[in-house]
């Protein structure tokens, strides 16, 4: 006979309480705001999905979403391949490893707003080394006035700040590959490309999944750096979802629409992460079902 002891649930209680305080309760207040309207005096009225409809149909939201998606896409398109290339080029033994790892880790240790400030000053045409230097070289560069310059500045900054993370993840994946794989590849006469394609890349897949997810989430939620450097400008050129959201919630104090937008924002991130995860792990799931076939070329 089986004895069910429901007291075991008590063991889960501490975690449940923690999660409730840290995540569920704050989230529910946002849900609460998103379906109500207020005219002050702590009086609230039920409005249903009105704010959601307003947010989803607003051009302002669409534009900000497009900018954010574009930014994330560019960040991933640059940082992932660059990170892989740098990781492949890093030394595997000797003093060089330590030097590289320390240099790589440095940008990761700098707080976001400091990174923003560094680049804000660095890029200034009047006193910044980069801006002043470019101006003297005859390049017409001004991130406060030119949309393209603003984007380039933000992208270069993000690449500088976060490519290291991709490098470190890829490097950890690479050094975990046993030497015998490379020996077998030499015996099999594999080219450098074939070694990358059939040994290194497959063995890096797991760490790459983590790298893609982290870099996507971080870049999709980027706030501090563009806030410090461009403040969302010139015009609205670098107003990403996060900046837009803060303007709406804190600047205009539109709590209802801001709450609705927060939830939509959150769901988009969740959905896209799920897509990334599903696509990148789909290979493993179909592994047993005889995919591949007898291709030889």
């Amino acid at each position: 006979m089986k004895i069910h002891n429901n007291k075991a649930w008590l063991l889960v209680l501490p975690v449940l309480i923690l999660v409730a305080i840290s995540a569920i309760i704050p989230l529910m207040t946002v849900v609460n705001y998103s379906v109500q309207d207020s005219f002050g005096n702590n009086e609230f009225f039920w409005v249903g999905t009105e704010w959601f409809q307003e947010v989803l149909n607003s051009e302002r939201f669409h534009n900000a979403l497009q900018r954010t998606l574009l930014f994330s896409a560019l960040v991933l398109a640059i940082e992932i391949p660059l990170g892989i290339v740098i990781a492949l080029a890093m030394p595997r033994r000797g003093i060089g490893v330590t030097i590289c790892l320390v240099l790589m880790a440095l940008p990761l240790l700098i707080p976001w707003n400091v990174v923003g400030t560094i680049w804000q000053v660095f890029g200034r045409v009047d006193i910044g080394l980069l801006g002043y230097g470019l101006a003297n070289l005859g390049v017409d560069y001004n991130y406060t006035q030119d949309t393209l310059d603003a984007w380039i500045t933000l992208l270069v900054m993000d690449v500088w700040h976060w490519t290291s993370l991709v490098v470190l993840l890829c490097y950890s994946g690479l050094v975990a590959i046993p030497e015998v794989y490379y020996q077998a590849a030499r015996i099999d006469g594999a080219s450098r490309w074939a070694i990358f394609r059939y040994i290194q890349l497959p063995k890096m897949k797991r760490v790459l999944l983590i790298a893609v997810l982290l870099r996507f989430m971080d870049s999709f939620m980027i706030y501090t750096e563009p806030f410090v450097i461009t403040g969302g400008g010139p015009g609205n050129a670098t107003t990403f979802l996060s900046i837009d959201l803060v303007q709406m919630a804190v600047g205009q104090f539109d709590l209802g629409p801001a709450a609705a937008m927060s939830i939509v924002y959150f769901l988009i991130i969740l959905a896209l992460c799920w897509v990334f995860y599903t696509v990148m792990t789909s290979y493993e799931k179909q592994a047993g079902t005889g995919a591949g076939g007898g291709r030889y070329e």
Binding site: Q183, I187, G294
Partner: protein, 353 residues
């Protein structure tokens, strides 16, 4: 297919290392021979194999294939197949693509690749799983694929096996070993098979090369290794239990072991220090009355016979006794003098018949 010659090959992993992993070897492997390289872990077998395949460049000496110096050539240029101890498969490729990989890299024609792959698939009994992704296979099958990749090129100079059956299930081990032997008879590749398992070495090869501490101590047929071990290590390593090695002195035609005289019944020219007698447990008889008095330490029943562990002063002597033989309380050993080998400083100086 080629003959392989090592000329004064020595290797150490660091210049500061006083010990050589492979110790000044001169060795000739004939074209089409099946050799086993037998020795304990860490004796330099794998190092030697990697020197032949070019994964390692020897510190000293030359590697010569068919009279052509290969020492400076890279692995890819040596056209060698090598199978490693642990399975290596290309995870994202299918079974068939894995087998085709070495051929594709070398630009073989499509039809030839297809026919070779089919042949190896049949050999491994894996036709039905040709399209399956390699990462989904179990360890046994992965190692079969590794083995298959070693066999798929028909033009290789030699196939080197580095303890390839270590991770394989025992019943499959036997089957694959038989397959390898058949492949050798059919295609006549030069094959070098590294193992620390004497059964594996003795069943696979015509010639067994026994390595010990970076040096080759004996080359011979399985029978020669058993009957006339050139080095006490070979005697102890081959056979189960191994040869008894007893420190002794020579006095005329007698060997003296811990005060007991054993008549050798032949003239011995060896003299001096570092002398040892070697006698197989199979060649000693346990007696209740005559011979050298010993103490019985343990009796082990290994199934087909008993192994009686005895002690003579400080020295251990193992004796093989047929199942059912009574074990006397006060035991004596009768040693067949014709089967006694005499060693000096571990090397054979006087062999029995």
């Amino acid at each position: 297919m080629a003959s392989i010659e090592l000329q004064g090959v020595a290797h150490r992993y660091a210049a500061s290392d006083p010990k050589y992993a492979v110790n000044w070897l001169d060795q000739h492997w004939q074209d089409g021979g099946a050799y086993a390289l037998l020795g304990p872990s860490g004796c330099g077998k794998t190092t030697l194999l990697n020197i032949i395949s070019g994964l390692l460049k020897p510190t000293e000496g030359k590697v010569v294939f068919d009279g052509i110096d290969m020492t400076g050539l890279r692995t890819e240029q040596r056209n060698i197949a090598q199978v490693f101890q642990f399975p290596v498969v290309y995870d994202t490729l299918s079974v068939a693509e894995n087998l085709a990989f070495p051929l594709r890299n070398r630009g073989f024609a499509r039809e030839e690749i297809e026919s070779r792959v089919q042949e190896v698939l049949a050999l491994l009994g894996m036709q039905s799983r040709a399209g399956q992704r390699a990462s989904s296979l179990n360890a046994d099958d992965k190692q079969k694929i590794s083995l298959g990749r070693g066999l798929v090129r028909s033009d290789v100079n030699a196939i080197l096996f580095d303890e390839p059956l270590t991770v394989i299930d025992p019943h499959l081990k036997w089957q694959l070993r038989t397959e390898l032997k058949k492949i050798h008879q059919r295609f006549g590749h030069t094959m070098i098979y590294v193992t620390h398992d004497q059964t594996e070495a003795l069943t696979f090869a015509d010639q067994v090369i026994v390595m010990y501490d970076g040096s080759v101590v004996q080359i011979g047929t399985p029978q020669e290794l058993f009957d006339r071990p050139q080095h006490t290590f070979v005697g102890q390593f081959i056979g189960s239990p191994g040869m008894n090695v007893l420190a002794c002195e020579i006095d005329g035609a007698d060997a003296v072991v811990a005060g007991n005289r054993i008549g050798l019944q032949r003239q011995i020219s060896a003299a001096g220090v570092g002398l040892e007698l070697g006698i197989r447990p199979e060649h000693i008889e346990l007696s209740a009355s005559e011979g050298i008095a010993v103490q019985i330490v343990a009796v082990e029943d290994v199934g087909k016979h008993l192994v009686v562990r005895t002690q003579l002063a400080e020295q251990q002597i193992a004796v093989i006794v047929q199942e059912g033989t009574p074990i006397p309380e006060h035991a004596f050993l009768k040693i067949d003098p014709a089967k006694l080998n005499l060693y000096q400083d571990s090397f054979l100086v006087d062999a029995g018949s």
